[in-house]
């Protein structure tokens, strides 16, 4: 608004000072400058973000596309142009599709419980607790621990024969779970690590949103005779909808790029002997660093990018519908 105001103000000034040529020229120049100012400065103000994005986001993206069209050795560098050969090769690999499946499985096993748990924890933290700040900071502690350290600790717990979890299971007379052999069990174990790290972080986001819900809504609900549980489902959760959407989208993007936890799940770091828990990012790693074939690795990277774009679009459409519904009510 302020910018458009300034566009309109100069004309009256020019009419008053047309008498001398020099001042006209000077005026014309200052007019020009102010025109540039109006036209260019908004772009200048927002340019840092776009410059940064171009360097750290767009350039790698396009460069990866360029690499994916060549045969490219990790150390040797660029080879000959091969058009879409890398993509054809990768798409024909069962390992690629296996990695896609694993990625989605781990993503679902981690995101869904994560969001549910985070809301529950946030609701508890939102209540009148003693030593409130202590608890609130407490849930963030797992987030500060480096993912690889988390991996090492959980690896010890999830070891097939000597791990604590299996010791407990056999202690109460159950069969040990084959964490490193069974595909689903390995996904659950990895999802546990992811959840351990991210639940507290998401809980704090939910907590912030919960605190923004006007207290009089709750008062009205209490007067209407709604219990705590009813208040939670009928007031808190609907009011949190935009935040839930935000958390779900960030969890999706993060979830499809799971790497650290899965990689440190065993020593070889290739996702298991039968690739039980090899995710897409680990497959990229195997192609790029194991086989040193950067061309194919880049092709998979681009396919992963496309998958994320498609899912983000789907997310967007669904959330728009949900948001509209929320508005109508």
């Amino acid at each position: 608004m302020a910018v458009t105001d300034r566009v309109q103000s100069p004309p009256p000034n020019t009419n008053r000072r047309t008498s001398r040529d020099t001042s006209v020229k000077r005026l014309a120049f200052s007019q020009k400058v102010s025109k540039w100012d109006v036209k260019l400065s908004p772009y200048l103000y927002i340019s840092p973000f776009f410059l940064l994005f171009a360097i750290t986001g767009l350039f790698p993206l396009l460069y990866t596309a360029w690499v994916s069209l060549h045969s490219w050795n990790l150390i040797g560098g660029q080879g000959e142009f091969t058009a879409l050969e890398n993509y054809e090769f990768v798409l024909a690999q069962p390992f690629f599709w296996n990695a896609v499946g694993n990625t989605f499985s781990i993503f679902l096993l981690s995101s869904v419980p994560q969001v549910v748990l985070a809301i529950a924890i946030a609701a508890v933290l939102d209540a009148n607790l003693r030593a409130r700040t202590f608890w609130r900071m407490g849930v963030l502690v797992p987030f500060v621990v480096a993912p690889v350290a988390v991996g090492l600790i959980f690896n010890n717990l999830f070891a097939d024969q000597a791990g604590l979890f299996n010791e407990l299971l056999t202690g109460i007379g159950l069969d040990p779970v084959r964490w490193h052999s069974d595909s689903l069990a390995s996904h659950a174990a990895i999802a546990t690590m992811v959840n351990f790290r991210w639940t507290g972080y998401n809980a704090l986001i939910f907590l912030a949103a919960m605190q923004a819900i006007p207290r009089d809504v709750y008062e009205a609900a209490t007067i209407d005779g709604a219990g705590r549980l009813r208040q939670f489902f009928s007031v808190t959760v609907p009011m949190l909808r935009p935040t839930i959407i935000f958390v779900v989208i960030t969890a999706t993007i993060g979830g499809l790029q799971i790497f650290d936890e899965a990689r440190v799940f065993d020593q070889a770091g290739l996702g298991g002997a039968d690739r039980q828990w090899q995710t897409l990012t680990m497959y990229i790693w195997e192609l790029g660093w194991g086989q040193r074939n950067f061309g194919r690795a880049s092709a998979v990277a681009w396919l992963l990018f496309l998958i994320i774009v498609v899912i983000a679009m789907a997310n967007f459409l669904i959330t728009r519908r949900i948001a509209n519904q929320g508005g109508r009510r």
Partner: protein, 430 residues
């Protein structure tokens, strides 16, 4: 671990500085480097190693001899981790240590890029190593990219107490006599052992045993011109089937994957009775089996001699202190130092002079029931007949094979036939 090493390094330097006024400064600057002067300016050298090179005390010694040098030791837990680190930073063009330890299996892929490594050939070190050790690290143009550290002649490590319990002979000589012969003899002895002992397996892992067997094959995965023959080679398939027959059908394996948490923990429980052990494995066993008594080593190896692994020190050209780094690498791989590393962690020297030295021959390891490890491994080294050919794809194919064995032996997700199918697919995708 890392920070402790640094602290000791710092304190060593500090102590040295205090002494510098009197005597300490006389340590040699007698060695001319690849380029430029050495031994005058203060430098910090980083050295990247993995597993156990046995260099911790040697670094301190070197720092005392060369007060201007501070050594920063970066130790990776596994060789896979070290290899990832190496290739990533080679590709990035920066970030490597001044000296990088590499394993013999990576040499073929690294020799394709000789300009990434300083030429270490030097008249001073000519004839220092066993011929095959130097040849493996030399390019066609005669550039030497790495100084040999250790070699991996293998014996059989065993638990004498468990042997005794199962009614087998348990002293070193009788065990050597018992296991002498083919792999089938080794497995047959295992069947007797397993039948007589309660739930103790014969060996730790199918993958580890396979590694001992495949290292006796001249051209396992690739022809000399680099053509991949892994999936058609009957020798490979035979060994694959034989080792799985022994591991799964005959139940000789403890079903562990080497280097995994379970494998490390198994040394503390009586999980298995024998283990193929190259020299560098002695230190690993000693560390994992701390407090366990009964380990011994027999001067024998099924199917003839065998060499497993062994490492080199390289000086990447991206480093700033190549001359100083070369000097340190030269010093570390000299026979005297390698004997000390062997005393510390059992890494068996690959230097001719070291093999003949009395110190090595007289070396005794108290953990292995005072076994004359120096003499045994020196015997094992002379028994090695085959130097397997390893082409550019060796590492990747062997990884795929190890996965194939793990699927059947540890995960039980496949039978030998279906796992072989998957191996074929994996090799085809390289």
């Amino acid at each position: 671990m890392h920070s402790r090493a640094r602290i000791t390094a710092l304190s060593a330097t500090a102590a040295c500085l205090a002494l510098a006024l009197t005597a300490c400064g006389s340590g040699g600057s007698d060695n001319a480097g690849v380029e430029g002067e050495t031994g005058t300016e203060d430098v910090t050298l980083s050295v990247g190693t993995f597993n156990e090179f046995g260099y911790e005390e040697l670094f301190e010694e070197y720092e005392q001899l060369n007060p201007n040098v501070t050594i920063n030791h970066k130790k990776a837990a596994t060789s896979n981790e070290a290899r990832d680190n190496l290739t990533t930073r080679l590709a990035a063009g920066s970030g490597l240590s001044d000296i990088e330890g590499i394993e013999v299996d990576w040499l073929p892929e690294l020799l394709e890029f000789p300009d990434q490594f300083a030429d270490l050939s030097d008249p001073a070190v000519e004839g220092r190593w066993l011929d095959w050790k130097t040849e493996a690290a030399t390019t066609k143009d005669g550039q030497l990219i790495g100084y040999g550290t250790d070699a991996g002649p293998q014996g059989v490590c065993y638990r004498a107490d468990l042997f005794e319990k199962a009614g087998l002979p348990s002293d070193r000589e009788s065990v050597a006599a018992l296991l002498d012969g083919s792999w089938q003899d080794y497995f047959d002895a295992g069947k007797d052992f397993v039948a007589a002992s309660d739930g103790v397996a014969w060996f730790d892992s199918a993958g580890a045993t396979y590694q001992g067997m495949i290292n006796q094959v001249q051209n396992a995965y690739e022809d000399n011109d680099g053509t991949v023959i892994a999936t058609e080679n009957p020798e490979v398939k035979d060994i694959y089937e034989q080792v799985l027959q022994a591991s799964v059908t005959d139940g000789l394996s403890a079903h562990l994957t080497q280097w995994e948490d379970d494998w490390v923990a198994s040394f503390q429980s009586d999980a298995f009775a024998t283990k193929l052990c190259p020299g560098w494995m002695l230190g690993v066993i000693e560390g994992n089996a701390e407090g366990v008594e009964g380990w011994d080593i027999a001067d024998v190896f099924p199917g003839g001699g065998g060499n497993w692994g062994g490492s080199y020190l390289t000086v990447p050209t991206q480093g700033e202190n190549q001359a100083e780094a070369k000097k340190l690498a030269e010093w570390l791989t000299a026979p005297e130092q390698q004997i000390k590393a062997f005393e510390s962690k059992g890494t068996f020297p690959s230097q001719v002079e070291a093999l003949e030295s009395e110190e090595l021959q007289g070396q005794v390891d108290p953990f292995f029931n005072d076994a004359p490890t120096g003499q045994i491994l020196a015997n094992r080294a002379t028994a090695v007949e085959v130097t397997p050919f390893k082409g550019p794809k060796y590492f990747a194919i062997n990884d795929a094979m190890q996965q194939a064995l793990t699927r059947v032996d540890v995960d039980e997700t496949d039978d030998p036939a279906s796992s072989w199918e998957k191996f074929t697919t994996a090799v085809g995708a390289l």
